[in-house]
Symmetry: C2
């Protein structure tokens, strides 16, 4: 049994954010990848929709400029042949303020030939807003 595309993508994603290394993730993005993070776009420049590999690599640099992932726990997961959905809790650190941010996200991903073709992420942003206002 081969490894599901999600696991390889997840490792490469966290490496791109925490270590600012994009070699791996670059090979795991479809050229025409359809990407969206639904959340308060005014709060972080990396929320919103992006299209294509170059735009997604750019947004990953923005994410790496703003946060580090301290830990994440996958609460629920569904795997299809070329798809995956999960709900996770993230513990992040905001790089400018050094403040901890904890949030919950849900994502739906589609892969094509082991590359990410589409992802939709929903962020439990109220939690995030509350913490930012403290």
């Amino acid at each position: 049994m081969t490894e599901h595309s999600l696991w390889r993508f997840s490792r490469a994603l966290h490496r791109a954010i925490n270590e600012r290394r994009q070699e791996e993730i670059e090979g795991l993005l479809d050229d025409d990848v359809d990407w969206a993070i639904y959340g308060p776009i005014d709060m972080f420049p990396f929320f919103g929709a992006r299209r294509g590999k170059a735009a997604v690599l750019e947004v990953l640099r923005l994410i790496a400029d703003n946060i580090r992932v301290r830990r994440f726990d996958r609460e629920t997961i569904m795997l299809g042949v070329d798809s995956a959905a999960s709900m996770l809790r993230y513990s992040l650190t905001a790089l400018d303020s050094h403040k901890p941010i904890s949030l919950r996200i849900a994502h739906f991903a589609q892969f094509k030939a082991d590359r990410l073709a589409s992802i939709r992420v929903l962020v439990d942003t109220f939690d995030l807003v509350e913490q930012a206002l403290r």
Copy 2:
């Protein structure tokens, strides 16, 4: 091929909210159902965690007291044998103010013998907060 539990549950849920009729949904909830809507609990009394059929029927009455569903569009869906996850856009009406509320939700559901055993819902609440503040 029999119908997936999700569709029957979805119809019963919307009937419970829009018509305040709980006969159908009552038969589709596991006695020990594990239920959570993640969102700003201060805004709506129906956010948060509930356990057991009686608590969920009560929270459905609260939802019906507060909103009506005008329309919903399922953007993404994953179905397993006894599980389902989807992302949807909802157009709601707040019953007190008659104001439209539009929000995006993600849900992960587990069924056991065609009854809902567990559901986790994440609401794109910032959108909702923004609209409430207008």
